[in-house]
Symmetry: C2
Subunit: 605 residues, 2 copies
Amino acid sequence: MKADKKTEEYLDESKHIGLVQSHTYIHEDPFELENGRLETFSLAYETYGILDEDGSNALLVCHALTGDHHAAGIRKDPKTGDLERKPGWWNDVIGPGKAIDTNKFYVVCSNCLGACQGSTGPASLKPGQEKEWYGMDFPEFTIHDMVHAQKKLLDHLGVRKLFAVVGGSMGGMQTLQWIVDYPSFVERGLVIAATPRHSAQTIAFNEVGRQAIRGDEAWNQGDYGVDKGPFHGLGVARMMAHITYLSDLGMEEKFRQTPDCKQNEDLTKVVNGYLEYQAQKFIDRFDANTYLKLTSALDRFDLFGKHGLDDTLKDVSSKVLVIAFSSDWLYTPSENQWVVESLQRLGKEASYLEMPDTHGHDSFLKGSDDFDRAVRVFFSGMDKKEEEEQNLGRFRQVSSRYEVKKEADFKVIDDWVSSGQRVLDLGCGRGMLLEYLRDSKQVQGLGVDFDRSKAISCIARGVSVYQQDIRHALANLPDDSFDWVIFSRMVEELPEPGAVILEALRVGRRVAVSFVNHAYWRNRLNFLGRGKRVQNEVYPDRWEKSGLRNHFSIEEFEQFCADSQVDGNAFAIGRKVFHQGDWVKHCSFMPNLRAGLAIYELIKD
Amino acid sequence: MKADKKTEEYLDESKHIGLVQSHTYIHEDPFELENGRLETFSLAYETYGILDEDGSNALLVCHALTGDHHAAGIRKDPKTGDLERKPGWWNDVIGPGKAIDTNKFYVVCSNCLGACQGSTGPASLKPGQEKEWYGMDFPEFTIHDMVHAQKKLLDHLGVRKLFAVVGGSMGGMQTLQWIVDYPSFVERGLVIAATPRHSAQTIAFNEVGRQAIRGDEAWNQGDYGVDKGPFHGLGVARMMAHITYLSDLGMEEKFRQTPDCKQNEDLTKVVNGYLEYQAQKFIDRFDANTYLKLTSALDRFDLFGKHGLDDTLKDVSSKVLVIAFSSDWLYTPSENQWVVESLQRLGKEASYLEMPDTHGHDSFLKGSDDFDRAVRVFFSGMDKKEEEEQNLGRFRQVSSRYEVKKEADFKVIDDWVSSGQRVLDLGCGRGMLLEYLRDSKQVQGLGVDFDRSKAISCIARGVSVYQQDIRHALANLPDDSFDWVIFSRMVEELPEPGAVILEALRVGRRVAVSFVNHAYWRNRLNFLGRGKRVQNEVYPDRWEKSGLRNHFSIEEFEQFCADSQVDGNAFAIGRKVFHQGDWVKHCSFMPNLRAGLAIYELIKD
C-alpha cells in the first residue's frame, strides 16, 4: 500500500474521513419504476460516521449527473490494492469537523439508480445474462425512481429518519424529490444549484449532446458492446456540457492567465487541449446510453407538473435551504428561487442564500468560506467561535449606547406580537429579533435581508431567511399571509418607501414601522444654526461618506397614512410608541418635536 | 413573376427598398492574405440607394458569421425567376426612411471573403479547375483579409470615402478592423454586439462545433465533394451555436408559451423539433469547411494583440458608437465596453449604448424601437419630430421656472470653460450642455449617463456618451485626461459622494460641482417649524414617493474640501458662485444661509 505525500494527508483521520470502502446493496425483489419495472437492482454506496442507536442522525448526500457514491475519503484501487490518488468528490465538505461533520452525522451516499459507476443502469447486464446489456432497453427512469431506490437502501441500513438530504445540481433535484415524496422522513433539505425544472435552454443543450451521440455511427441504436461505443459523440456531448458547468469569467481566469496565453491564437490551443482532455477522461469512465437516459431523466423532471409548483410542494414539511451561485447560468439563481418562493408562499420554513463564487454551476464542488459556513450552520447551528466572532450577543444582552439604540424598537415589537403568530421581518439583519420571538413565543418567522453574511447568521440561528431585495420578496407573498410585517428602522433606506409599506399591508394583517424621527428638536436646532446634517451614533458618517437616505418625520408619516389606501381601503394607525432622544425614555407630549424614535402599528380596516 | 401578399408589401418602394439584384465583383489580380495568397477572388454584393457625385455618402454593411450580402429588399430566384418569399436579413433597418436611410445613403453589402454564398472561399473551385475545390487548402484567412477585400470592391464601385461602416457580431468585428486598418477612409463606425477578441468560453463553444465536424467520418479531412459532407457534425455544431445566439429568457418565451407546452416532456419535443429544423436549414445552405475556417478566423481575431487594445486603436479617427444587448451572453456588454473604454482612454469620440432586448445575441437582427432610433440618430441626427417629442428645446431656450433652475448652473460652467477644452459631464442627461459647448467653443465633450433614452438623445446631438454608472466610467479614465469634470446637480444622488469627487479630481484638472445648498434659510425655517422636508419645484415629491438622496450644505462641502486630498495632495477651491433661492440673482453675503444653488470650481494643487 503506497501513498504519496498528498494522499497521506488525506489519510489523517483527525482532518479527513481517511480510508473508505465502497459497498453494494442488492435489492432482490422486483422494483416498480414510473415507466417500467426492474426484476432486481443494486446500488453502490459508501457511508461515513456512525449511525445513532435511534437511527436518526443520518444524512444522505446525492451526487450530480456524472458523479458517484465515492463522496469522501480515499479508496484502494480494487485491482491493484494501491491507494487512489484523489479523494472523493466532496472531501472538502464531508469529514470530521467539516461542514458535514462525520463526528455528528452518519453520512450515506449512493450511486443513483440508472448510473454506471456500480449501480444498475443501461450499462448493466440484464438479470441472468452474461453478454446482454440493458442498453436502450433500460426503462426511462426518473428522479423519483432514483429516490425510491435510495429509500430501499436506507431501510436496509437501518435508517429510520433522515436528519437531512443534501445535493447539488442533479443531487439537488433528488433532494427536492425526497422532500416531496417522503415529507415526514426528511427533517431538512439542502438544495444546492438546482432547479424545479429544466429551462428550454438547458433542454436544448442536452438535446444537442444526445444528437451528437445518436448521430455517431458507433452508437448503433445503443447496441455497441463493451469497450466500444460512440466515443466521438460522447466526447462532443461532454465538452459542450462542460462549458455549461463553468462560467465565462471563470474560464477567462483559468485559461487566459496561463503563462503562454498572450494572444487568442494561444488561448485557442489551451482551451482545445483542456476540452479534449475532459472528453477523453469522460469517455474512459462513462457510458453513452447511460448519458442519454440520465440527461433525459433530468429534462423530464418537472416539479411544476400539471398543477403548478405550489401544488407539488404543498405537503413538504422539511426545513429547506436553497443555495444558488450568482455565476451559475445553467441552474440560475432565479430558478433556485422558484422553489424557495413557492415554499414561502405556502408558509413553509424555507431559506435562500446566494453565493458570489465565480466558478459557475460547478461552484458547489469547489466550495468557499461562505459556502462552507452556510452548510455547516444549516446542519449544526452556530458554534461558540462564530458567536464570539460576531460579537453581537443575543437579544437584550446589549451594552453600548449604540446597541441599546439598535434594539430599542425590538422591545416594543416584542410586546405587540402574540404567541404563535407569523412574523415577516424586512431587513432582518442577523435574525436576532426573530430568534427571540421564536424562542419566547413560538413565533413562526421569516426574515428578508440582502446581505449574505447576515443571512447566513440567520440560518445559524435557525431563522428562515430570504437573501433578497425587500420588494422582490414581498411581491411573492400572498395577501394576509403574515400576522405582522416589521420594518425595523429600514424604511429610511428605501427609495419610494410608501409603495413598499402599502405592499407590506397587503401581505400582513398588521405592520410595525419603526423609524428615526427626523423632526426631533435637536436635529431642527442643529440645522437652524448651521444648516448641517446631524451626526450621531446612529448616523455617524459625514455627508461625503454617507449612503443615500430618505428621512422623514412623525408628522409626515401620519400624513402619508391618512392619505393612503390599500386596495382601495384606508388603513388605521393602531398603537404608537415614541421614545425620547435617548431612545429609552417614553415620550407622549409633542412627539414630532421631542421624540427620537417612533414605532407605529398599522392595521387594515 | 408571382408574389404573395406579404411579398407584395415588400415591393412597395415607398416603404421598402423593393426589388434588388445581387452582383459579383471579380478581382483579377493576385491578392495577398495575412497567411497566404489568392491568385484571384470574387465577392458577391448588393447595393441600395445612389452614390453621391463626390462618392462620399457610402455606408458599408458587414454581415455576421453565416449571413450574406443580401441585406435588404426582395430578390428573384435565379433559377425559377420567381420572387423570393423573404426579404434580406436587415430589411427592417435598411430602406427608404428607415434607420439606415437609402434615400440618403448608398448602402453596400458584400458576402465576405472566405464565405460560401457567392464569394471566394473554401467551397469555391480552385482557379482554372473544374472539379477541384479549395476545401481545407484555402488559406487561414482573417478578419483583416475580409476588410481588405471589401476595400477593393469599394474602390471598384467608386467609393472614395465611407460615411460609415456598420455591422453586428462578426460584422461588428469587421467594422472594428475597418476603423483600425483604414482610419482616414471611415468617418463613422457602428459596432453592434461585437467583441475585440473571443473569450475562452466562446472559443470553447467554437472548438466543440469544429470537433463535431472533424470527428464526423464524412468530413474526410475536408475532402468531401459536392452534395456530400459531414452533415451530422455540421448540424450538431449549428444547433449548439444557435443556442448561444439566443438567451435563456428568450428561449423560455419562445418555446414554453407554445400552446402544447404544458410540461417539460412536451417542451423537450418542441425544442428538439426546432433545433433539428435549424440544423437542416443550415446544412442545406452552408459548407462545413467554410464553417471551420470562418469560426477559426473569429477565434484568431484579437485586437488586444501583443501590446494591448490601446495600442491597436491608437490611430483610430472615426467616430464610434458601440451598441450592446443586456441579454447577449456570447459577446457580452462588458466585452463591447472594452472597445469604448479603450477609445475613451485614448481621448477619441466613442459612445456606448446598452439595449434591454431579451433576444440575446440575435437581438441585433430583430431590432426594437430604441435600437432603431439609436442607429437612425447616429447616422442622421435628430429629426424634427424627435426634437418636438422631447419638448426640451436647446440650451437657453427655456421657459418654465423649473427649466430655468435646471440650467442655472450651465451658464456659470459655460463662463468657466475655455475654447477647445476637454469636458467630461457626469450625469450629462440629454447632452444639452455638451452640445452647446461644442457648438460655441469647439469643446470636446464626453457625457456619462445611466439612462438609455437620455444617452440616445446625446447621440442624436452628436455628443459622445457612455451609458454607464458614473463610478465605472470614471475609473476607466486616465489621470488629467480632461480639462473639466462636471457634476451638474448630481452629487446629491450618489452614495458616498466624497470618493467620487476625489476620483473626478484625478481624471480632471478642474472639477465643477453644482449643488442645491440644503442649508438655505427657507429649508431651515421650514424644518424648524414643523420638522418637514422641503417640497419645491426641484424636489417636488413627498417623502414616501421620493428617491434616496444625500443633501449637504455649502459649509459641509467646504469642510470636505479642506479635509480631503487627492493622491496625497490637497486641492483648492477656485471660483465659487452662489445663487439665491430663485437660482437667478447672485448671492455673496452669507451664502450658507442665503444661497439656493452653489457652483464650485475645484483645482488640483
